[in-house]
Structure formats: C-alpha cells, structure tokens
Assembly symmetry: D2
Homo-oligomer: 387 residues x 4
Amino acid sequence: MEVLTVTSTLKDRFLEIRKNTERICSSLEKDDFSTQPVAYVSPPKWHLGHTTWFFEQFVLSEYKKDYRLFSDDFSYCFNSYYNNVGDRILRANRGNMTRPTIDDVFNYRRYVSQHLSEFLDEDLSADILEIVEIGMQHEQQHQELLTYDIKYIFGNQPAFPALETNIQLQQEIDNGFIEINEGVYEIGHKSKEFCFDNELGVHKTYIHKCKIASKLVTNGEYIEFIEAGGYTNFNLWHADGWDWVKSEQITSPMYWHKHKGIWMQYTLKGLVEVDLNLPVNHVSFYEAWAFAEWKGMRLPTEFEWEVASKQLNYGQLWEWTNSAYLPYPNYQKAEGAIGEYNGKFMVNTMVLRGASLATPKYHCRPTYRNFFTPDTRWHFSGIRLAK
Amino acid sequence: MEVLTVTSTLKDRFLEIRKNTERICSSLEKDDFSTQPVAYVSPPKWHLGHTTWFFEQFVLSEYKKDYRLFSDDFSYCFNSYYNNVGDRILRANRGNMTRPTIDDVFNYRRYVSQHLSEFLDEDLSADILEIVEIGMQHEQQHQELLTYDIKYIFGNQPAFPALETNIQLQQEIDNGFIEINEGVYEIGHKSKEFCFDNELGVHKTYIHKCKIASKLVTNGEYIEFIEAGGYTNFNLWHADGWDWVKSEQITSPMYWHKHKGIWMQYTLKGLVEVDLNLPVNHVSFYEAWAFAEWKGMRLPTEFEWEVASKQLNYGQLWEWTNSAYLPYPNYQKAEGAIGEYNGKFMVNTMVLRGASLATPKYHCRPTYRNFFTPDTRWHFSGIRLAK
Amino acid sequence: MEVLTVTSTLKDRFLEIRKNTERICSSLEKDDFSTQPVAYVSPPKWHLGHTTWFFEQFVLSEYKKDYRLFSDDFSYCFNSYYNNVGDRILRANRGNMTRPTIDDVFNYRRYVSQHLSEFLDEDLSADILEIVEIGMQHEQQHQELLTYDIKYIFGNQPAFPALETNIQLQQEIDNGFIEINEGVYEIGHKSKEFCFDNELGVHKTYIHKCKIASKLVTNGEYIEFIEAGGYTNFNLWHADGWDWVKSEQITSPMYWHKHKGIWMQYTLKGLVEVDLNLPVNHVSFYEAWAFAEWKGMRLPTEFEWEVASKQLNYGQLWEWTNSAYLPYPNYQKAEGAIGEYNGKFMVNTMVLRGASLATPKYHCRPTYRNFFTPDTRWHFSGIRLAK
Amino acid sequence: MEVLTVTSTLKDRFLEIRKNTERICSSLEKDDFSTQPVAYVSPPKWHLGHTTWFFEQFVLSEYKKDYRLFSDDFSYCFNSYYNNVGDRILRANRGNMTRPTIDDVFNYRRYVSQHLSEFLDEDLSADILEIVEIGMQHEQQHQELLTYDIKYIFGNQPAFPALETNIQLQQEIDNGFIEINEGVYEIGHKSKEFCFDNELGVHKTYIHKCKIASKLVTNGEYIEFIEAGGYTNFNLWHADGWDWVKSEQITSPMYWHKHKGIWMQYTLKGLVEVDLNLPVNHVSFYEAWAFAEWKGMRLPTEFEWEVASKQLNYGQLWEWTNSAYLPYPNYQKAEGAIGEYNGKFMVNTMVLRGASLATPKYHCRPTYRNFFTPDTRWHFSGIRLAK
C-alpha cells in the first residue's frame, strides 16, 4: 500500500475523521444504536466501537509504550472478521449486545482518540504511519456503511423518521454515450496517494470498442421497466436473479412503497414521492443487469468504466459493473491481519465503481474497487448502461 | 371470569401494578430496552408498551368518552397476537423497533395510567371493571415475562452484568414424599377471586394412589444426572427431546457454564458458582422428564399436583407436570379478542403448576395453569418428582 | 403385554401376515419401491425390509441356534429408530437407498420367513412367543403405514395412477348423538388378547355428561366449512394451527384438487369427484378442531370415545380426539429395545381412536391408542363431533 | 452457433450418442433410476427422459409433419429449466417421480430416436440441423452429468457398489512449469466446428507473463495440505470458502473416507485406497484456491489456460480457473428457449477448463467453458497451479 505521510496533516485528518463518524450519528437517539434488523446491517454502536478497536488493536496495543487497554471485553465485542486476532462475537449477534452502552462506547472513542492523537506527536516509523492511515481509511469506509445501516434501521420503522443530512441526489445531465476506442489500456492505481491493495498492480488490459452512457438510469426509466413487467419476465434475469426475485418477492427497488397508486420512497429525509428525474437508487446487481437486458444493452466492465472515467460525471451512486471481483495480475495480499481486508472476498461478489453521496471524499477515485454480492442493495447503488 | 370488584382498591392496585412493572426495569440502561436476542424474548420496551396498549385498546378506546389515542402508530407497534384487533408488527421483528423511543413509551405509560386512573373514578359497569381486572392480570403476567426476558438479555452479554433484585432462591426442606389417596377429587377454581378462563369449570377427576416429593430437585442431584451421562443416554428421553438435545447441543440447564471444571451459573446477580443445595432452575420439560426417568420416577400430573398442593411447599419455581395443556370439561372460551387469551394455545404445550419468585403475588394460587412448549426453559422452571 | 399363544395358529397367522404385506404392494412397479417424497413417508422397500429385520434382529439372531444373518449390511439399512440396536440410516435418507434392490429385499423376506417359520415348529418359551407376537403386530402396523405411503407416492405423480384395492369408504347412517352419563368408568385393555403397553394399566377415570355423534363428518359438511371461509378465519384455529395453515398454504384436506370449480380427490382408485355423502378423510388435528369450533362443538376425549365405543359405528377412518397422548397411571415401559416402541412418543402427539379401512383386523379394538402429531394427515383420519 | 452439417454423418452420430447414453446406465438396476439423493443430483431416469424430450420438443413437435407426442405428460415431467416452454416439475422433486417407469422411458427413447432418425432422412434446412446438433451436444453434456450423478448415488449406498466402466485416472508426467509470454492473444472459438454461444466472439485479451504447471496436483500433494492443517487454517480460504468448510464440516475431497488411519476413496470401481500418484479429484473451487494459497501460488485464469493449452497435457479432470464465468465482449445470447442455455448462469459461477474422463469426445476442445458454483465438487474436478 502506498501512503502519503505528512505527519502534521495526519493528526488533523485523524481527528477530523473521528469527528465525522460521530456527526453521521447526530440524529440518533440512544435507542437507535444497538439494533441489527438483518444480519448484514450492523448496529451503529458496533461501527463506533469497531473503528476505534481497530486503532487500539493494530496501533496502540502493538506500538505505544505502556498503553493500557480501555477494557478487556471490548476486543471481543468489536472485532469484526479478523480471525487472526482472536475470538469475536458472531456477526448475526451484534444486535444483542446492549452492553457496553453507547455512553461507554463514546468514552472508549474519546480514550482511544486521545491516546492515538498523543502517539502521533511521537516520531513514528513509516510502517506505523501506514497502519494509522489504513485505520483512517477503514473508519471512512465504515462511515459509508454507517449511513447505509442507519437508513435501513430508520426505513424499517413504522413511522419512517427523517434525519438531519445533506445527502440529496441531483438530476444528471444527459450527454448521450461516450465512445471508447479499441486498444491496450493501463488499469490500476499509479499515484503515491493512499489506495487499497486490490487497486495495485498496474497492468495492461485489452478493451474492445464500446459506448458508455454519460448519465445514470433515472427513476422514470426504471418505472417504465416495472410497468413493462420487468419483474415478471424471467427472460430478463440471471437464473439466480430470478430465484431471488421470486423468493424475496421483489417488485421494486429497496425502500419503494406503492401508496394509493403512487410510488413513494424512503429517503434519509423521510418518505417522499419518487422523483422521475433523479437516478434510481438501491437496486441490486440482478436488477441492474435485468434492466440492461430489457434495454437491449449491458453493464460496462470495471475496465471499460475506469478507462471512460475521465469523461464521466460520477459520484452520486456506486455503479454496478459486469465484472466479478477478482485479483489483478500480480496482486499481493498484505501480511498479517490486515491481509484479511480484501483478498478473501474475491469470490461471489461483483465490482461497483465510482462513489456515492455517502462516500468520504478521499474514497472517491477512478481506481477504487467497491464490491458486494449481487443480491444486496441497501447501499447506494445505481445503473449506468453500456453497449 | 369471576372478578372481585371493590373499586377503591382497584385503582390502588392498578397504580401499584403499573409501578411494579417499571420497578422491574430499574437497573436497565436505555440501550437495554429495544433488543430481541431470540424470537421468543421480547424487548423490555415492547412489554412496557404492550401492557399499556391493552388498557388503551380494550378499555379507554372502547368506553371512555372523548378519549384521544396517545398516537395512532402505537396500536400497530404494541399489539401482540390479537388478530381480531387489526394489523400488528411481526413478533420476530419487535427488536428492530427503535422508535418510539423508550422515553416516548414511558410518556405513553403515564398518559394511559393517568386517563385510566381518572376513568376508574367514574361509576363503571361490572363488564368494564372485569376488563380492567384482566388488564391488570395481563400486566402482571408480563411482569414475569419481563423478568425472564431481562435475564436472557443480560445473560447473553459478554460481561454478564448484575441487576438490583430481591430474587434469590432458597434451600428447601426435604420432608420425603407426600401420599395421595385414590379417589374422586374436585379440580378447578372455586372462589370469587379473579382467575383465568382456563381454570374454570370446576369438575371431578379420578386420581390413583401416588406419592409426590415434598421438595424440588436440587442442583446437586441434577449434576449427578449430568455426570451419569444423562444428556448422552437416549433411553432417558422422549424422541422429540432427544432430537432437541442433539440439534441444540444441550449439555446442561440454561445459563450454566463450565469454567475450569466448575459449574457456574448466570443469575440476576451475575455469574456465580452453582449452589448444590438450591433447586435446579431453567430446565425444559424434556430435561425434567429425562431426569425423572433416570431416577426411576415420573413427573406428577397437574391434577395430582393440585390435590397435593395444600401439603406442598411451592412458589420458588414453576414445576413441569406431565399434563398436556387441554381444556377442562365445559371450558368456555371468552368472547371477542379476550377469547384469544388462552384457548388457542391448548395444543403442543405442557402445564406448569405452582409459581416462581418472579410471579406477582396475585398469580400464585393452586389452580393456576401456566403452560409452555416442552423445549422452552428461559422461564423459572424446576422439577418435582412423583411415583 | 398379554399374549395369546396357540402355537399352531401363530405360524399360520405369521405366514398370513407376511403374505398380506406383499399383497398391499401388488400394484407397484420396481420403480415405485425406493422413493421417499417427504421425510415422513418411507419407501415401500424400506417397510418390506424393516418388518423382516425386526424378526431377524429380535428373534432369530437372539434365539435361533446357528442362525446366519442374511446379510450384515441389512441391519444398518433397515433399523428404524431403535437406538439401542446400533447405527442406522438417517430417516430422511431412506429414499437414497437404491441398494439392496427390491429383488434382494424379497429374497430377504423369503429367507427370514422360512427360518422363522421353521423356528416356530420348535418348543418355544413364552418370552420368545411374545416377541414373535410383537413382530407380527409390528408388521401389521407397517401394513397400514405402507398403504398411506403408497397413496402419498401415487397421489404425487403427475398422472395420478390407480391401484388395485378393496379400500372404499361407505356412507354412514346418522343416528344423531349418543349420550354418556356422568360417573367413574374403567379405561384400558382387560382381555387376554394381545395389546400394546400403552393400553395397559386398567384404571378409573371420571367422565362428565356429554354427547357424541353417531357418524363421522361428511365431505358435504366439510365443504360448507370451506365455503364459509373456515380456512381464513383465525378465530377457529389453534395458534399453531393457524401458523400451519398460513405457512403450508392449506385450503382443503390432503389430496383435494379444485378443477374447473369442482372438488376432485385423489383416492387409491385414482382421481375422482368428491362424494358429498362420504366421511371427510385426510384432515389434520388442527382442521378437525377448527371444524368443531365452527360447528360450536368439540372433539371427544379418548376416554369419552372409549366409553361410547360400544354404541359407535366406527372403523372407516381413525378419529382425532382432543386427548394428548400421555401415559396411563402406572404405565410401565417394556424392557430393552422393545421399550422404545411407544413411551418415547408421549409428547407433542394427539390420540386417534377407532380404526380405518387400511387397519389390519387384529388392530381394530376399542382400547387401541393411535397417535400422530397434530399437523399430519397423510393417514386415514376423520372427524367425530362431541358436545 | 457454427455447425458442421454433413447429414449422413449426423444421423450416425445421433444414433451413436443415443446409444452411449444408455451404455452409461448399463450397470444400473431398475431400483437405481429414480432416486435424487440431493437437489443437484438428478435421477438417471430424468436424464434419459429429458434428453429425449429436448428432441421431441424443439425438433419433432416443431418441424415434423403429423408428429404425435409420445405422451402429453412427459413434457411436464422432463422439462428442466426452460421457463419459456411451460410448466415443469420442480427440480428438487424429480426424485419423487416414480412414474413414468424406467421401462416407459426407454420406450419413449426408442420412439423419439426412431422418429428423429426418419426425420433426418428428409431434406432439412440449416436451422433445423442446427437444433438437432444442439440436441446432440445437449445429450452429450447430460452423459457427463449422468456419470457424476450415478457416482453420487452409488457412493452414498452403504455397500459402495462398483460399476462396469473404463474410467480410470492415470498418473501424469511432470514437466515442471510452462511459460507464457506477455502480450495480446486471441481468445475464443474460431473453427467451423460446433461450439456453444459462450465460446463465440473471438476477441483479444492482454496476458501478463506467467507460468503454468504441466501436471495436475496429485493426491499425495493434497494429503500434505490436509496434514499441514489446510482445512483448519482460515488464512488460506476465501471468507465464503471458510464458511462452507465450517458449515459442511469439510475435511477432505468428496468421496474420501479415513478408515483405520488410511485414506480410502470411492471410485466407480468401488472403495479403494487413495493412490498418491494420481491427480486429486472432486475438489471444490474453494479447496483448489486454498491449496494454491498454501503452496504460495495461484490458479490460472481461463485466458492463461487457453493460451497455454497447446502445451498442456489435459483431459483427465476439469480444472478450476480463477475466472468468473462472464460473457465475452460482443457475446450474443441465442434466440428463444435455446437462449436460456448459457447466459443466465453468468453470475456466481467459476469457469473450469479442459475436460474429464467422463467428457464425450466432441466436448473436449481448448475453448470450451465449463462452469459451476464454487462449492460444488461432485463433478470430476482437479487443480492446476500457476504463478
């Protein structure tokens, strides 16, 4: 991993990131912090604790002299999937964990932020700085998940409560299709800025002539698909996608509700009428693919997307590609527990490219490889067509 | 249902009961109120809301002039299984309900208590008073469930937190076996005091000569059963019980943990060493039955128990009987939604008799028929032998 | 167990029973013998082998001098639930067992019948004769299950094939209701004829005045229940019954199909129109109970039924009672593997009384206690009302 | 699809293929034809019927004048996943279908073979000939599945029966690693011979320098992996792979049994000791990938494999690649029901390249793309390493 290491900025950035995480939770009541409505949605309390544990576990415990753990129990409570670091609470049971309380967790955050902040004043090796950087990137990734999870929790309350938030999709300008010429292109992260191991290994790839839409598919277009029977025509779907539609009884994007003949949509600002001009959000890969089939087009590959990215107007929603999440040639898994970060998810997942309105700014870059299983859609995810 | 109707007392009892429910929650943090670790454990918040909703739905909305609902949403949130009263949140989803907040629910309680309290000052018909009485009995039943559910929530925290509580099992005196003579006996509730519909229909039953233990089985006796291989000898178990032992990997009562060779037990006061002289608690019907098989004895029937009850020293733990929960001759289901209270559970459940330390005082009577499915054991339940 | 032991007859009866089992399979092709469409339906081959294994395991291997097992593998293949006798194939996997072939199994039957038949010419102790008797009773019970299982297998073929069979329900005469007087009655098996351990322990029971229908509920009456919305009115159902109706999407008795507005029914003679005058068959306990609720009546207890039995015209269909299957006072489980026969099923099951057209003649007696879980209905089961 | 159309050969090939299918079943008893031990293993009878139905449905019914269906029911019974062609029996229920009998199915095969054979004497259009060709390719694919399914059925019999078969793995010669130079290569099917739509769209791809093993991983090498704790070290596994190992309790390849300290293996010739020098068979993608991790190497991509194929000695076992099954650039799905053949499986599956000893000869070509989900391993599948 390449890391930019100007220590003075690092401390400021660290404190800013820590603050941002808590800012995302500003509309929450204590009651909202511990619930886990489905296995893949973690309680906000867990995110707050886990991002803190990461710094305590991989930085302070390892490198800071005389550091005393805030509490022995917290390691067990807030480990996520790092099997190398010891026992951990089962993912599906996170919502049972009412203790430590949210007040305790905020204390834990303060304690660790304070110690790490002091530690950053010391003269640290590049190795340590790299881990701090990863911890910050990690916390930023959780900021985005935190937004998704809060939306899920609130979107499943009978009263559809609204939050204070600046997140608001905008209409995109339609400039038709962008053309890519056939040829060999370079793919992967080149600069000295931070990136994840899965973006590294700059390499060549051969791309065939194709066209990529300048804008995301809108709600209006998606409603046409629904009204044309998109969800009932198995010819448009992958076999697994069709099974998913049937077993989950899917008939619209997530958070859509038809009320008295009108499509309503839960947003972070509450339940509102679906705006036909905005990009469609909260669709799974299966839905994105079926929509493209219906249009007689397809989804771009992640390589086509990366090549076209300079000409694209992106950043509102993550965009499903038709690329499976696989290692680049010469991909090297990082050593130790940090190595569990990416490589072990390189099967059964699809790549999303771009960024969303919930993405922290330093996570928005053309080589970033986001990934989810093809049935998920509680994240901010839209559709860009190719042909 | 027979009801005792001295109105002045009624209001006092009503307010006392409402206070007791909240007293049970006195050690809880806001974080603890919304979780539902397994489907059969309801969030404490739900109990607080549901018992309140019962009074609002069946008394105030029906009978109090110009009563205004506290909130339209609460009816949907806090209905339990009364299909006759409209839509309701699915039982397994109660733990997702972070809103209304616990503060809102306490406000709801105050509002309804206030209105009901005022209403009780009016000149009310016997019918209305009966429903109020049922509401109070209902809330008392939930008090006991609340204790069980809080214990389950706390007993599944990594740190095993302790509560403030007076609940403490005592050693019982062993007076050997009590004999019952063969003959015809009367069973069922006779006095004018309140009882549930399932206790009514006083009727005769024929009982054969038998002996019933004067005390409950102790932890010490139960550990002998464990050490003799009780959980690995299928000959001691019902076929369904054996399936349960295997699929749930049961090797001890609930809340027991073997730590460095010593049996520890989570109690409301925290994790303590198992006291050999105290009654064994948190066993399922399957375990109670298997233990009796191992002893070469059996469990009493609920009729034998009721006949013997005057001579028994009971009230620490509910006692599994070998009687299925079935209607008495001439059982009459109550009319309307209240009729959903008991009759519809009269299949696949077994009767427990007696009472527990968590039972509110007016629920402790010799004709009381408690019932659970044979695999449950998060309630306070022990074993009394017969032969 | 009481046993009638005239050896000469025993051998004749043994051979007759063995022949009858095979006669039930006379319409089957080789293809039909190995399938297990649901876990509770065993392949016909399994019944043929298992009933044979019982004689080999409990009689020949134990007592016959120099007896050589037909094959070592067969014991593993055809043990059912006798945990005491060693490993066994999992119940749900019986349908995977294509080997031994059905030809091998018929050879196995001949081999064991031959040896047992020779063995019966010796001078045998009462103990041995008792086990032979149990083996014959056991095979007869499997004859009835074999009929049920064959019906299930054929009733789930797309082409609804017909069998050669004499089984044909008849219209019953309606003599209104039979009255039983209040008082103490004796229950249980008294004669010296064979019976199962669960019928023994003659004992007294107190019965209250009641009335029992002289005939079973007809298809015509049941269609009224359906058309009155019986399957959509939760007030008529047990809580568990209602869950069953919803999750299994039950809208009629088993084997009923509505075709162009007409109720059709798969019978052993193929798919025929439902005859309104015949007794309704293939209903679960939940359905029987709901029907009785709808009629404002109830099901009889097994004790009321036994007392009334002399006056009843029964034997076409097993009749659901409202009695849970529980041990009689002083019930003694038989020793050893045979003891696994009955006692371990005495939880979560309901008693059926009477007999069906598929019941072998010596299994038709007023004290016989049949039992099934309340959701099953692939057996021949009807409804008799009480009030 | 490109098709070779010399009609005279076509008829001979057709009849030869039909015969081969039946030859694979030559060791089966009638009992073996109808069972479905797990959902993904189809009964042999079903394969025999389904491949026949394909010709009847897509050729004879469509194009042959005055053709009369063999039976109306067979279409329902033997449709597989062609949603476009109407209702079909649920995949998981195929094993319940004891009727039509295997004799009927052989009659069906003769009837359709006879009619199709006559039809091929007519002067047929290229379109029709193409569908016949696809039908033959389809039947050949099922021949391989038939071998897998028969092995699964026999490998799960308590007595591990042997079959008559020529299938026998051979030791491979180890010539070290083959090098591929960096550059642009052409991928995809070029000749006029038959291929599937997923191989078409010849296109360029950029390949980086790499090395590919000349031989498959042996049983001996795989046992080293097992003994080094390969199945207990989560660092070697994908997250999904690790879940699979835990939930399915995987500790060795499929069909392996450790008996008295010796690794035994069920083969089509019965249970034999594992031969250390033969290629390891019946591993999932997860296992192949974990083995490569343990070796510090990786699996080749399907493109590397295709480029190297001329130098490889392959054809004993299908070889897992690290490529997800995705469409080639300009992939065109075939029209109509035939279009359901490939494209809809292009998610959640991994590509296998090469061929196995069970592969019919015309299915063995370097561009052939086989695919399965990463957890399956009842097919013949081995491991080739790359670095």
